[in-house]
Structure formats: C-alpha cells, structure tokens
Symmetry: C2
Subunit: 365 residues, 2 copies
DNA sequence: CTGAAAGCGCTTACAG
DNA sequence: CTGAAAGCGCTTACAG
C-alpha cells in the first residue's frame, strides 16, 4: 500500500508538502495542491490513522461503553445489546448521532468486573479521544481510574452527587441522568390516586443507580402514606426477563394476598409480569394494575397497552454526545443534565372503584 | 503518559525487553518478566495502539458498516439504527458477538453515496482489520473498490452470483444472505392456499437486494397462477414507515377495488399498513389479510399478531462474525451461507371462505 | 537471554 | 512556499 513517501516521490515534492495538502494548510499554492491531489486520487492514497495519531492527531473516534454486570454471575443472565430495550436503543442513537457528526464510534461491552480493565485500556491505548459510559454500577470506583487518564468522558445514569464530591475538578467529564427518584414517586402517587394501597415493586438490579433511586422513591412514598410494604411485595427482577418470570411465579404461588398493583422498574419486566400473570388467569388491569418505566415501542402495542414512565432515550443520547463533543473541542466545564420522566397513562392501570375500595377498607378493619 | 521507554528505564531493562514482556515472548526469564510487570502495574502503563499498529500489529478491531441510502434524498426519510428493526438488532448482535470474542467494533453508517468514501477510508486508513457490510445496494460497484484493498470483508444480503462472477479470486471475502426469492414465493403461495387472488405487495427500496428478490418472487408466483397484478397493487414503501403510510392512504382513497391480502417486504411496513387500514375502519384479517417479513419482536404482540416470514438475524450475525474471524485468522476460502426464512403463521391472515370465494369468482365473471 | 538500531507512516517546528 | 530532520511509541531481526 502507498505511503506519503511514495506519493511525494511521484508528485515530485517532499513528504512535508504531501502532509500539508492532506491537512489543508493554507500556505500551499493551488498548483502544488492540485499536482499532489491528482497523485493521491490516482493511487487512492489515504493516510494511515496510526501514523497520524502517533504524531499527535486525534483519533476522531469516541468510545461507547455498555457496562452490563449482573449480580448473578451466570452467562445465562447476560444482558446483551441485542433484544435489550435500554442499552440497544441508546447505543444505536449515539452511534447515529456521532456518525452524523463525523465521528467514528467504538462500542465495547463490559460483562464482568474483570473486564473493567478493557474499558480503561480503550482510553489508555488511545483508541479513542473520549467516551460515553452507560450502566456503570452505582458508586463504582472504577470511574476514578478512568478520571486519572484525563480524557473526556460522559456518564449516563450515575449518581452526580457522589461524583462531584469525589472527583478532581480538572477532570473533563459530564453526566446525563434522569429524575428516577421523582419518577418513582409520581408512579406510586398515580396508583394511590387510583385507589391502590397494596402495591408491589419489581426492582432492577440495585447496584444500578436508577434502579436504586426508583425503589427508594417507591419506598418513601408508601411510607409517607402509611401503607404497608410487605416483604414479598419487593421483587427482584434485576432487569432480567427470565428472573422476573420466576419471581412473579413465586409471588403468585406462595402469596395468598396478591397486590392490586405492581410497579416495574422497566417495561421489559412489566410486560413479562403481565404475561406471567395472564398465564395464571389473572386479568390486567381488572385484577392487577401495572406501571412500567421506559416507554419502549412495545408499550403502546401490547395488550393491554402499558402505562409507563417515559424515558427520553434519544434526547439523552443527543445531550451525551453534545457534552462529549464540547469537551473534545476543549471546553473545560463540567456538564450536567438531568431529564424528567413523564407519565404515559394507558390501559394497564385501573381505578379501583369506590365499591371495591370500600370492600377492601372494610376487610382491613 | 508513560511510554515503553519510561518503563524500560525504571525497570532497568531495554525497550526490547519491555516489548517482549508485553507480547508474551517465551524467551524472557520469570524474574525479568516479574520485574517489568511490576513497573507496568505500578504505573498503569498500557502500550499505545498506534505505535503497535505502525510496527505491524493488528488493530483487533472490526468495522460494521450500515449502508442506508434511500432513493429519496431527504433527511426526513433517513433510516437510522435507532428504532429500526433490521439494522439495529443485527448491528447490536454483531457488537455483542464480536465483543465476546475479544474484538473492538467500529460502527459506521453510510447515508449517502458521497459517504461511500468513508467506508473505504475506514479500511484504507487501517482503522480496522476487516469489516462486515450490511445493506449495500444491489450490484453496487463500490464493492470492487473495497476488494482492491485486499482486507477481509463480509457482505450481508448481497447478490452472490454477481459478486462471485465479477470479483478477483484472491480477494478475502464472505457472503451471508437469505433465500428471499423463495420466501416471497412461500408467502404468496400461503395466501393463495388461503383463497386469496387479489394480492398487493408493499415493496422495500428496489436498489436493495432482498427487496428486489422478494418482489420478484411475488411477481412470478402471481404470474404462474395466472392472477392479475394491478399496477396500483405494487406499492413502494421503500422500508420507510412514513412512505408506507402515505402510499397505503393513496391505495385506499384512489382504488375502488381493494386487495384481499397484502404482502409487505418487512414487518415495520406491515404494522404500519395495518395501522393505516384500521384508521379507515378496515378490519384485519376480516377484510384484508397481511403478511410481513422479519418477525420482529412486535410481530408476536401486535393486534392482530402478525403472520410473517421469520429472518434469523442473530444466526446471520453469528455466521458473519465467524466468517470474518476465519478470514482474519488467515483462512483463504470464500465463505458463503444462505439462510432460509420460515413462515410464522399468526392471526393476520384469514382463509377466505368458499362462500366468499364463490362470490368473488362470480363477481369476476 | 538481551540490547542497540532500524523502521513502521505520519506531522511539524525550523531554517531557508 | 518548501524540504530535511526529528520525533511520536511501538516491534523485531540481528548480533552477541
């Protein structure tokens, strides 16, 4: 394959001049530029990336890191990009946006803690100019190792208080997150306003920031209203379809007193919950109301359609990219944006009628 | 940041030895290795990729190229990864599989012909060791420019006959495709066996290999059965939801004699067709039967559930990766695999009863 | 077993 | 406006 040396020789100039043409220096006269460009075109010459990077140019590549570490150390429980309704779409959106803005994107998936080193290596080996990290465990200290490299990075869904408190101020970073705690309160209040008191919660994996905040919001709202939270009403689906299936089965088979409503920390688990309940002849929303989180495209097509807290995935991807782009262009601020989730009311939640409510209240006396 | 030179100095050895340790040469005595490794760990040293590549190592990165060029040169009609049910999942699957096998993945999306150069550049700049190309237009000659670079590549959904006939035999490549022509025949036969004769077809963009083959299969089956193909029954949705919506509206509003069944070249268009028909009070499958292609996850959740020709996306991704991996490891064969699509019969197709059939036949006399 | 040296393909400050 | 030279961070054939 051709090198700049070959092009220089053929064009009758030095490598310096070839480089100047490639990099669009202005102090190259038009005829020289033309002469060189003709040779470049003729031989389809393209400067090798590694040479350029070694001599100080940027890679023009950003990393997209998906951290998907389950507590269950079982490959069966692995959460992939494929057929996943959070990681998949947000990664796809970032790829779209970064490409439209002229960046290359490297996607790396971290399945186990031992692989954290691969995340760091991608930065340290200078494969990328900066990166966006999704799904990093709550208060995971790996982030300070990344920070040490002093390359720009964006965290999606991470505890901003913890980070701002503990990180060096010269580290170039940003955070994009959502008001999960507040959203969980809203979801719980919505059910309560529909007459529900016996509410269960299917949680995501608690080492995840959003999952933790959502459960917390639910908990506190229930407490505030003096509603009992039965132990068996806190269900750990860990964002996994199969685990959700097993846990809901357990709930139905082992609990005499079923809840009248269930909040699920994402739509995938909500839809699986509905499917599992249906298997036992339980009707949604007549017998049990369901609320999810995310508003995946299915949510509007399922039967019943799913009431859910809509997450603005595409906006989050856009903002994350914009933040990173700013940092790559030398801006030194710390960037931070937190999005609201919005309630999308659909068919899966039913108002418990006064009559039913009375019956329940009566029963509770 | 540390370089191998720094490590060498601190460890009291030469850069050669540091390099030998990094690359796991066997002729380094354990004590030397240990001494060097300690310094490496202490300073978190990682060899820079560009240096390694420049001196002949592989990038350990594969490219995934999505070619999504619409005939409409309108950004509104752009088909992204995000919310797309073919590109999105297959790219996600390849990312998953490649990562599990230790590769980095660069994803590049080509939206317009002018961007083809970026696809070639990614190879030519040696950012990758090889690549997988999805959605390349039928008989697009760009492929021969890529072939000239002599780096391994895999094509997903491309005309194998055309390629094998025209490409130099020393080019390292593979093709993974599906029997689209045969699948379209099966879909059409299925409708015919259910009594349908007035069948419309919503086509993908015809510069796409699969779209072309599917339309061809439909056409020939209709001809073979001596069924009339009305001009207005061939509808160009071009794989775009919005375009499909407009075209189906046109069909309903301008055509007196609606078909009894519609084949759609993918599920996204099939679901949009159903939605649009419903808007006009047309019932599926009572009034019109629908068949799609792909078997996206929705297909099983929509109402009615969608009869469709299932595409083995994940298997295709696996095979594509495997082929590329073989080529990267020096195997010199040309790899080729074509998958079957399988009919998934669901609720969206209805058997036209003998009585109706008779009425129609009578009417046609 | 190990170091000095050459070389990979670029860019850029320097000198003219 | 342009070239010679140094340097970026690695690896590896060569010599000992």
């Amino acid at each position: 394959m051709m090198s700049s040396k070959d092009i220089a020789k053929i064009a009758g100039v030095s490598r310096s001049t070839v480089s100047r043409v490639i990099n669009n220096y202005k102090n190259v006269p038009p005829e020289t530029r033309k002469k060189v460009m003709e040779v470049i075109e003729k031989y389809n010459y393209r400067p090798q990336m590694s040479g350029r990077v070694l001599s100080g140019k940027k890679t023009n590549t950003i990393g997209i890191f998906v951290v998907s570490i389950s507590p269950e150390n079982d490959s069966f429980y692995k959460l992939n990009l494929f057929n996943n309704n959070y990681f998949g779409p947000i990664v796809d959106a970032i790829i779209d946006i970064a490409n439209a803005n002229g960046y290359y994107t490297i996607v790396k998936i971290i399945y186990k803690k031992e692989d954290y080193s691969k995340l760091i290596d991608t930065f340290a080996e200078k494969r990328i100019d900066g990166g966006i990290i999704i799904g990093l465990n709550r208060k995971e200290n790996i982030i300070f190792d990344i920070a040490k490299i002093l390359m720009p990075f964006i965290l999606i869904h991470y505890d901003e208080n913890y980070l701002f408190k503990n990180i060096n101020s010269d580290v170039p970073f940003g955070i994009v997150s959502t008001f999960d705690y507040e959203a969980a309160i809203e979801a719980t209040d919505y059910l309560i306003s529909h007459g529900h008191k016996k509410i269960a919660f299917v949680s995501g994996r608690l080492n995840n920031y959003s999952a933790y905040e959502r459960l917390k919001g639910f908990f506190e709202t229930m407490k505030k209203n003096n509603f009992e939270i039965k132990k068996e009403y806190i269900i750990f689906g860990n964002y996994l379809i199969y685990k959700t299936h097993m846990e809901i089965k357990k709930l139905i088979e082992q609990t005499k007193d079923l809840p009248t409503a269930i909040i699920c920390a994402n739509d995938d688990m909500a839809l699986e919950t509905i499917n599992t309940l249906k298997t036992y002849g339980i009707k949604i929303p007549e017998d049990i109301s369901i609320i999810g989180f995310d508003d995946i495209p299915f949510a509007n097509l399922s039967s019943p359609t799913l009431t859910t807290m809509k997450m603005p995935l595409y906006n989050m991807a856009e903002t994350s990219f914009q933040f990173l782009d700013n940092l790559l262009k030398g801006k030194t601020n710390h960037f931070f944006k937190k999005f609201n989730l919005t309630l999308a009311p659909r068919e899966s939640v039913k108002k418990i009628s006064w009559k039913n409510k009375f019956a329940i209240d009566f029963f509770l006396l």
